[in-house]
């Protein structure tokens, strides 16, 4: 024990309430933004890479301090204690976001060295804009992870949005500009609703610090109407920024139109920032909401997102749109944890499943978008039907997207599998079998469209892409590394998953033991076989992927074609501005009324 006593003592010194360690992940991107502007586009790439490596190191040290300390780290900025001052807090949840954003941003930075390095000696528009906006996104994410004050989190969300929107329209085409404008307006609508919620909470309790508010809200035996209204407004505002169906109108064109490195950051991390605040509100600020029936509504929307997103992904003719709709679907999995948090396995179990889904999706989706970018650059287009021969030209890229696909589908030993196993377990424990059904359907459909994409890429027939420009070897390896990271997430030692329950009430059955036995080779084949069979069936029947005529097998193909066009019509309706606005208002009112009745029911 002697050898390890010294580092823990050192860490304890750093992690004491006065420990300044928490400020480092905040200062690095801030100073990076300021010095980066002076440095100029030419030397900004390597500078950002060095900064991100230091950021990753700082995140690892913070993680070590939190795990060894066993309790969350607190730091009072300016020496003022809340409610007057603003505090930073690092519990298990924030450490996971810190680590994930550092890893994925570092990967994207390595990938983008080649795309955004100015050819000549002079700085170009893209080279300055991309790197500065990347630092802006990273600064926003670190502040969202560590912030403990609702208004500081609002400013961090705005920093995140203002850095993400110009990333969408970096190539300057009219479609991407329209997508960026729609994204900005809808994200601003979401953050104003969040701010309105924070204002009401301040009006009720006179503070904006999450810890103090949680104590006062828990003390009140019944949730007052102002807290219910604030919860409804903040939840819907953050759902709009997380693009949960039916508020997903801005995501597909924005994420598909952005340059590959930017769309990887947008899909993997930016969308998770606002979801992270949702976790803070539902699990830290007002945990009473989880027992209300309104939590089921979030689960229903998540299930709708899984089905709609996957079915739409099947119909896309372009690869980037397929991956963007896959993001819409995977966000649905995140929202399944709210109904399952009320079951016997307890909120921390569901929270750890949700956090693992954040990490595994960030890695897998980042890798998939990078791979899609490489394919689009090599072939000059990303029409799935003309991807024939890509397997020969870009073997590593295709391997990366295949491995990422395995994690998205949820094949062992990937993180996706652990999430599905945990959610299935929680669903059976709570007796709510239908969530399990949705999970299986989602897995099958994901397998279908990934097989559709990889099948086309591997098929030999079709013109050999003679003019394919070979991408940088490093770019392919980054995509593969992220994909492997997501795949091998399940092999991590079980104690790592205890990290998430630091600072929370431990679940009845410790996560480590439950998930230790989750992975064994025997059940791999059992899990894989039905998946492949059903996926091939879906592909054989449906006219998916823009085929004109339905499949060869008569009436089931016609049915599938009908379903496809119906889903397409529904998505087009949901994604026009007035209907999205209407669903936003309807959600605010239904959640508000749902909370009100739920709160009154559990009081009497």
């Amino acid at each position: 024990m002697e050898a390890s006593a010294i580092p823990t003592a050192w860490l304890a010194g750093l992690s004491a309430p006065g420990g300044v360690l928490l400020v480092v992940p905040l200062i690095l991107p801030v100073v990076g933004l300021l010095l980066g502007l002076l440095l100029g586009g030419r030397r900004l790439g390597p500078f950002v890479f060095v900064l991100l490596s230091a950021g990753l190191a700082a995140a690892v040290v913070v993680a070590a301090a939190v795990v060894t300390g066993g309790e969350p780290m607190l730091y009072q900025l300016g020496g003022w204690s809340p409610p007057l001052g603003v505090a930073l807090k690092a519990d298990g949840l924030s450490v996971v976001l810190l680590l994930t954003s550092a890893v994925v941003t570092l990967g994207v930075a390595v990938y983008a060295q080649r795309d955004f390095r100015p050819p000549g000696a002079r700085e170009t528009r893209g080279s300055l804009a991309f790197w500065m906006l990347l630092l802006g996104v990273w600064a926003g994410l670190n502040t969202v992870a560590l912030g403990q004050d609702l208004f500081t989190l609002f400013v961090a969300l705005e920093l995140l949005t203002f850095s993400a929107v110009p990333l969408v329209s970096l190539d300057g085409r009219a479609e991407t500009l329209a997508a960026a404008l729609r994204y900005l307006l809808f994200a601003l609508l979401g953050s104003v609703l969040y701010l309105l919620g924070a204002v009401l909470l301040y009006g009720a309790y006179g503070t904006l610090d999450i810890g103090l508010l949680a104590v006062q809200i828990a003390a009140a035996h019944a949730l007052p109407p102002s807290v219910l209204a604030a919860a409804a407004l903040m939840t819907v505002g953050l759902m709009a920024k997380t693009a949960l169906v039916p508020l997903h109108l801005w995501l597909p064109p924005a994420h598909a139109g952005a340059p590959p490195a930017a769309s990887a950051i947008l899909s993997a991390l930016v969308v998770k920032g606002s979801f992270f605040l949702l976790l803070r509100i539902w699990f830290d600020l007002i945990p009473g909401l989880l027992d209300l029936p309104a939590a089921q509504a979030l689960g229903v929307l998540g299930a709708a997102a899984i089905l709609l997103g996957n079915l739409m992904a099947l119909q896309q003719a372009r690869l980037k749109l397929l991956v963007a709709y896959s993001t819409v679907a995977q966000i649905g999995y995140l929202f399944l944890i709210f109904p399952l948090a009320g079951t016997t396995s307890g909120p921390t179990w569901a929270l750890s499943a949700g956090t693992l889904q954040v990490v595994s999706h960030a890695l897998a989706k980042g890798s998939l978008f990078l791979a899609a970018g490489l394919i689009a650059k090599a072939l000059g287009h990303d029409r799935i039907r003309d991807l024939a021969g890509v397997g020969r030209v870009l073997p590593i890229t295709l391997l990366a997207s295949g491995v990422a696909g395995l994690s998205l589908v949820g094949i062992q030993p990937s993180g996706g599998y652990l999430v599905k196993a945990a959610l299935q377990g929680a669903a059976e424990a709570g007796g709510t079998w239908w969530w399990g059904l949705v999970l299986d359907a989602g897995g099958l459909l994901t397998a279908a469209y990934l097989l559709w994409f990889i099948g086309h890429a591997l098929s030999g027939h079709g013109p050999h892409p003679a003019t394919a420009k070979a991408p940088g070897r490093a770019q392919e390896l980054v995509a593969l590394a992220l994909a492997l990271g997501s795949l091998l997430l399940g092999l991590l030692p079980a104690q790592v998953f205890e990290l998430i329950s630091v600072g929370r009430v431990p679940p009845p059955e410790p996560i480590a033991t439950a998930w230790a036995g989750a992975f064994h080779w025997g059940s791999l084949a059992a899990g894989l076989l039905p998946l492949l069979v059903v996926a091939v069936l879906v592909l054989a029947f449906g006219p998916w992927g823009g085929r004109r005529r339905p499949g060869p097998l008569g009436w089931p193909a016609v049915g599938a074609a009908g379903l496809g066009s119906a889903v397409g019509w529904l998505d087009a309706r949901l994604r026009c501005w007035p209907v999205a606005g209407f669903s936003l208002l309807a959600l605010v009112l239904t959640l508000g009324v749902g909370f009100a009745f739920g709160a009154r029911a559990c009081v009497t």
Binding site: L84, E175, L181, R182, Q316, A572
Partner: protein
């Protein structure tokens, strides 16, 4: 029914008008103006809460009337809202410039402008 409560109701009404404008107004510029109305409604509510909180202190003749923390946050919020408006206006003007560019060169305006923007 003190003055602050009146402004509180006015703030809530502004939020309603702003929400309606953001959703129903055709054209991004009109939506942006409605968004600024919505933002000013939220800040007005924050100001009312600040004024309600400050009464006791002012009565005691010690500090200024009104709670300084929400007032400081509203100032920060106003600057953030201005930055948001600046980005949206720049996007809007660039988009309009490109579309006029497109129309003046005779090529049809990009498909996404004419019909509903459901397509990719």
């Amino acid at each position: 029914m003190s003055g602050e409560t009146l402004f509180g109701l006015c703030g809530a009404a502004l939020v309603g008008v702003g929400l309606f404008g953001v959703i129903c107004q055709p054209g991004a510029l009109r939506k942006l103006i409605a968004f600024n109305l919505l933002g000013s409604g939220v800040f007005l509510l924050f100001g009312v809460i600040a004024k309600r909180g400050g009464g006791a202190l002012a009565a005691a003749g010690q500090g200024a009337d009104g709670d300084p923390v929400p007032q400081a946050l509203v100032i920060t919020g106003l600057v953030v809202a201005f930055a948001a408006t600046a980005i949206a206006i720049a996007l809007l003007r660039r988009l309009a410039g490109l579309n006029d560019q497109g129309r003046s060169e005779g090529e049809p305006p990009p498909a996404s402008r004419s019909r509903s923007d459901g397509g990719p």
